[in-house]
Structures are given as structure tokens and as C-alpha cells.
């Protein structure tokens, strides 16, 4: 087990390294030139070829690609992710500014997804085959079938404008303050609904499996009330595989945030990445991908480990 753990941990490095390398070359070789950032198309600025060459040299883009790559990789090990071409400040600073907003939105979305998804899943499983089950499972599929930017806009119109319960968009600081939470709810619900759909379906089938296990039948046959059977025996065991799904859900919510952050004007990593891509702000794209890849790979690893821990049938090779 511990050798396996070490082996898996070591595997994180080549994976993240590969992801960053892939992104580095893909974005550098893609059409588009970040120097255009300094020459707004609708605006007359000094843009002689000499000036362009000078700007290129100032940000180090005149060096051969392999030199840029080596200095980028070397920089990572020194905690230097380069300087944003658009924001002109260190990418590490830009990431740290935005990471809390994205993480907090992710946590809130996940909480919403879990509360909604697990509740619906349990109800569905207990009342399996009834109309309630059908409605619940249909709703769960609704959540994963609607384009999230459209859902966000519909919610914004309904809850932000038609019934002005929550602020339509924007950022109110940390979600652990009342004001911050009010602003975070709409984007979090938008992301959470799609996550809830998947979780509800998974919870239902997990519950159904457990309800058929021998010990649950034994508990029933001992004459324990259905409530105790469900909540004390079945749910506890059914939740274990669900927990393992959370790691993966977090990753998909992070990617949902890429679009939803733009809709709601949420100052997180998603917007940093999207504007970074369209500006060809190479260091920013590389930096965000690095952070997301590390986070996602670690989440996967933890998921696998928990899975193995709770299910001894999985053996580690």
C-alpha cells in the first residue's frame, strides 16, 4: 500500500509535467500573437516594426521556443511562473488573487450539489419505482442536459430580476460573509445543479445496491424499523462510494466555472484562463493549467485511495 502510494504520488509529476508541456507548445504554436495586446486594433499607438521587435524582446518572446520552454520549466521549480503579458504582473500573484474566489465558488457549488443530489438520490432509492422516483430522476437528468450558460442566464433573469431575491451578478467578497454568500449563490446554484444531477443518479444506484446487501436484509429481518435500516445501515455504506465521486465532481465543477464565471462576472481562475487564451497571454494560460492539473490529478489520486481504502476488493498493483 505505501509503495503504491509513493508510486502514485511520483506519477503526479510526469502527468502534470506532460500537461504543462502540451499546453506550452500548443499555445505557442497556435495562430495569434500576444504582442497584439500592446497594439489595440481600434487605437493608434506607436507600432513601427522596430517598436514591435523591442516589445517582443522586452517580454522575452524573441528567444527560440526551446529556450523559452526551458526557462519556463526552470522557473516553475523556483516558484516563478512568469509575468503576464496582459496584466504585466507575476502570474503567481494573479493566480493567488483569483484562486480563493474559484475555490470558494467550487466549495459552495459542491455543497449545493451534494445536498441536492444525495437527498434526491436517497428519496428516489427509498421510493423506487414510484412516481416520486421517476420525477426525481427526470429532474436529475434535466440538470445535466441544459447548457450551463443558458441556465445561468435564465436563473439570473428569474431570481435576480423578475423576483429580485439575489444580486444578478458580481462578487461580494468571501462566501463566508453574508454579503459574499448572497453574490455567490446564483453562480453556485448554476454549477451545482449540473453536479447534483450526476450525484443523484449515483446515490440512487449506490443506495439500491446497499439495500440489497445481506446485512441490510438481516437488519430488516431482525425487525429493525425501516428508518433505522435506511439511515443507520444502508446510507452509511452507500455514502462511501459517493464520497469517492466528489473528487471527480470537484474537477468537473472547476471546468463548469470556466463558463459560469464569465456569465456572472466572478473574478476567478476560469475568467483568468478564458481571457488568457483569447489574448494569447502564454504565461497565464500555462499557469492556470498548471494549477488546475495539479489540483485535478491530486483529487483523482485521493479519490482512488479512498476507493481502495473503503473497498478492499480493489487491489493495488
Amino acid at each position: 500500500m505505501s509503495t503504491y502510494l509513493i508510486k502514485r504520488l511520483l506519477m503526479v509529476f510526469p502527468t502534470v509535467f506532460g500537461a504543462v508541456t502540451l499546453v506550452f507548445f500548443a499555445i505557442h504554436l497556435a495562430p495569434g500573437d500576444p504582442i497584439a495586446l500592446y497594439i489595440p486594433p481600434d487605437f493608434p499607438v506607436d507600432a513601427s516594426p522596430e517598436r514591435i521587435a523591442e516589445l517582443r524582446a522586452r517580454v522575452g518572446l524573441d528567444r527560440p521556443l526551446h529556450v523559452q520552454y526551458v526557462s519556463f520549466i526552470a522557473g516553475i521549480f523556483q516558484g516563478d511562473l512568469g509575468t503576464s503579458l496582459h496584466h504585466r504582473n507575476p502570474v503567481a500573484v494573479g493566480l493567488l488573487e483569483r484562486l480563493p474566489a474559484t475555490l470558494e465558488l467550487g466549495i459552495l457549488s459542491l455543497a449545493i450539489a451534494v445536498v441536492l443530489g444525495v437527498t434526491v438520490g436517497i428519496v428516489s432509492a427509498i421510493r423506487r419505482g414510484t412516481w416520486l422516483d421517476n420525477v426525481a430522476m427526470t429532474l436529475a437528468l434535466f440538470g445535466v442536459s441544459i447548457p450551463n450558460f443558458w441556465l445561468g442566464m435564465l436563473l439570473m433573469q428569474l431570481v435576480g430580476l423578475h423576483w429580485p431575491i439575489l444580486p444578478p451578478s458580481g462578487f461580494g467578497g468571501s462566501i463566508f460573509t453574508a454579503e459574499g454568500l448572497r453574490f455567490a449563490l446564483l453562480p453556485a446554484i448554476t454549477i451545482g445543479i449540473s453536479g447534483a444531477g450526476g450525484l443523484a443518479r449515483y446515490t440512487r444506484s449506490s443506495m439500491l445496491d446497499v439495500l440489497n446487501e445481506d446485512y441490510v436484509r438481516t437488519a430488516r429481518s431482525k425487525g429493525l424499523s425501516e428508518r433505522i435500516v435506511v439511515y443507520k445501515h444502508a446510507l452509511r455504506n452507500a455514502l462511501i462510494p459517493i464520497i469517492t465521486l466528489l473528487g471527480l465532481s470537484f474537477g468537473s465543477m472547476l471546468s463548469g466555472a470556466v463558463i459560469v464565471e464569465t456569465v456572472f462576472g466572478w473574478p476567478g481562475l476560469g475568467r483568468y484562463l478564458v481571457t488568457g487564451i483569447s489574448n494569447r497571454d502564454f504565461p497565464v494560460v500555462q499557469g492556470v493549467v498548471l494549477v488546475i492539473a495539479v489540483g485535478f490529478v491530486l483529487a483523482n489520486l485521493i479519490t482512488d485511495l479512498i476507493y481502495g481504502f473503503v473497498d478492499p476488493r480493489i487491489r493495488y498493483e
Binding site: 500548443a26 437528468l141 445535466v144 442536459s145 443558458w150 445496491d209 474537477g251 463558463i259
Partner: protein, 299 residues
């Protein structure tokens, strides 16, 4: 990840049993049945709709822009005065093609990689391919598709390429998992011992056994592809205008969300219903191919 294994029986018998289970599942599940009918209808609409309703989806009548639904324009007109119904009908061809082609691309390449790595598990090829898949796995959800679409530039073909690559990692892992668990089973070992060639073994037995999870995943990834294409449209790296792709239409409609809300309802509903139907059918397939669901039915 699903590690489900179908009971290993002979090829034809297995195929029959799969078909049987599939139909039993579809008929037993009203939503899945209705969804299957809806999907058949939407394919018919894509094929015959533009022929029956013969209106040019590109024809602009600027004097008639943003008209609500009427007899003349049953779904209204868009920001250029184009007929929305005509665009939805032509869009069905494009969107279904994008969803289908994106899924098929991912399935084909994912299956090949999964089969090869599973069959030659432990070889240098397996290690290399699985590391590459790991790297692709490091991009959650839509992120990989965004990066690819942005790098390639917006075009219908590039969106399909992005969706295909996006599907590869999950599918290759699923297939590899199935192959690995099958490898040790008796009938494969038996085939080896009677001197059957590698390719024959792979395609006679492994493909047939992996087909369940592949079909389930492929179905669900049609849904994922249509949704992801819409997301790419929102970010400006989807199918470019004036192609009437549903995601692009929905994305364009967001600037008319007040003046002409119906503009987003039609493509939005088209995407939503189609993805929903595909998901229902995918779920039914999953139940059909997942032996654990047998347990469920017995209770």
C-alpha cells in the same frame, strides 16, 4: 470508472442477449422509450425537415428582424431577420452531426487505444499511451476542448476534432479496463491455447465484450458533445456563423434575451430535449449492460 464485466458467452449468443436486454430495458422504461422515439423523430426532422420546410436559413430580411412567432415565421425571426424555424431544422443536421461525429471520433480513437494498451498491457506502448491519456485526464471536463478549439481556431471541423480528442481519455480507460479483466478469463486463455492470432482474439472476443460499456459511453458522449459545442459557442470558439448550429444560435440569442426571448427558447429547448433524450437512452443502456442493475430489478 465502470469495471463491469459481462458474462462471457459466445459471440452470437451474447449479441442476442444484449439486444434482448436492451429492448427489455427500453420497453420497461417509459422515459427511455419516449426518448428513443423522440430521437428517431429528430433524425427524421434533420433529414426531411429542410426539404419539407423549404426556406433559406441564410436569407436576411433586415426590415423583419426580431419578429415574434407568427404564421409566416412559426419560430419568429432572428437578429438578421432570418427564419428561425428554418435555422432550427438545418441546425438539427449540423448539431446532430457535431454531436455524433464528436462522439464517434472519441470512441474510435479511444477504443483503439484502449484495446491496444489493454492487450499489450505492461509493454512500453501501454506505458506511453497511458501516460498520454493521464496527461489528457489532467484537464477536467470542457477545459481540454476549450484549449484545443482555441488553438485550432473556430470552424465546424475543428470543433469536431476538439470534441473527439476530449472523448479519448475516458473511453480508452474504460476499454482498457474491460480488456484487462477479460484477459485473464478462461475463454481468452483457451483461444490462445488453440493457436488463435492476436487480432482474431481481440476482435472476436474483446470487442464483443467491451461493446456494452462502449455503447453506453458513446451515447452519453453524444450528449456531452452537443453540450460542449454549445459551451464553445458561448466562448466564441464554436461553430462560426452563419452556420445554424444550435449552440451557436443559443449563444447569439443571449444578446436578444430581452428583446426577443423566444430566440433563445427554440435552440435552447432543441439542445436540452435532445441531450435529455440521449441521456435517458444512455441510462437505459447502462442499466441494460450493467449486471449490477439485475439485482435492482429482482427486488
Amino acid at each position: 470508472m465502470s469495471e463491469s464485466v459481462s458474462p462471457a458467452t459466445g459471440g452470437d449468443a451474447l449479441r442476442q442477449s444484449l439486444q434482448y436486454r436492451f429492448w427489455r430495458e427500453i420497453r420497461g422504461n417509459r422515459m427511455a422509450f419516449a426518448s428513443a422515439i423522440y430521437l428517431v423523430l429528430i433524425v427524421l426532422v434533420a433529414i426531411f425537415g429542410p426539404i419539407v420546410y423549404d426556406v433559406d436559413p441564410r436569407l436576411q430580411t433586415l426590415a423583419n428582424r426580431l419578429q415574434p412567432p407568427s404564421w409566416e415565421h412559426p419560430f419568429g425571426t432572428d437578429q438578421f431577420g432570418r427564419d428561425v424555424l428554418s435555422r432550427i431544422l438545418h441546425g438539427a443536421r449540423i448539431s446532430l452531426f457535431v454531436g455524433f461525429a464528436g462522439a464517434v471520433g472519441g470512441v474510435v480513437f479511444g477504443t483503439i487505444i484502449g484495446l491496444a494498451t489493454g492487450f499489450w498491457a505492461g509493454s512500453w506502448f501501454d506505458h506511453l499511451a497511458m501516460r498520454i491519456v493521464d496527461v489528457m485526464y489532467a484537464f477536467p471536463g470542457i477545459l481540454l476542448a476549450i484549449l484545443i478549439a482555441a488553438v485550432l481556431g473556430p470552424s465546424l471541423f475543428n470543433v469536431i476534432v476538439a470534441l473527439s480528442i476530449w472523448g479519448i481519455p475516458t473511453l480508452s480507460r474504460i476499454v482498457r479496463g474491460v480488456v484487462l479483466s477479460l484477459r485473464e478469463q478462461e475463454f481468452i486463455i483457451a483461444s490462445h491455447s488453440i493457436g488463435a492470432g492476436s487480432a482474431r482474439i481481440m476482435f472476436r472476443h474483446l470487442v464483443v465484450n467491451a461493446v456494452g460499456p462502449i455503447i453506453v459511453y458513446a451515447t452519453l458522449s453524444v450528449a456531452g458533445s452537443i453540450l460542449t459545442a454549445a459551451g464553445l459557442g458561448f466562448l466564441g470558439i464554436g461553430v462560426p456563423p452563419p452556420t445554424p448550429e444550435w449552440g451557436a444560435m443559443l449563444s447569439d440569442a443571449r444578446n436578444a434575451i430581452f428583446r426577443a426571448p423566444y430566440l433563445s427558447y427554440f435552440p435552447g429547448a432543441a439542445i436540452f430535449l435532445t441531450v435529455l433524450a440521449v441521456n435517458f437512452v444512455g441510462d437505459a443502456l447502462r442499466d441494460a449492460f450493467d449486471p449490477r442493475s439485475e439485482v435492482r430489478r429482482m427486488t
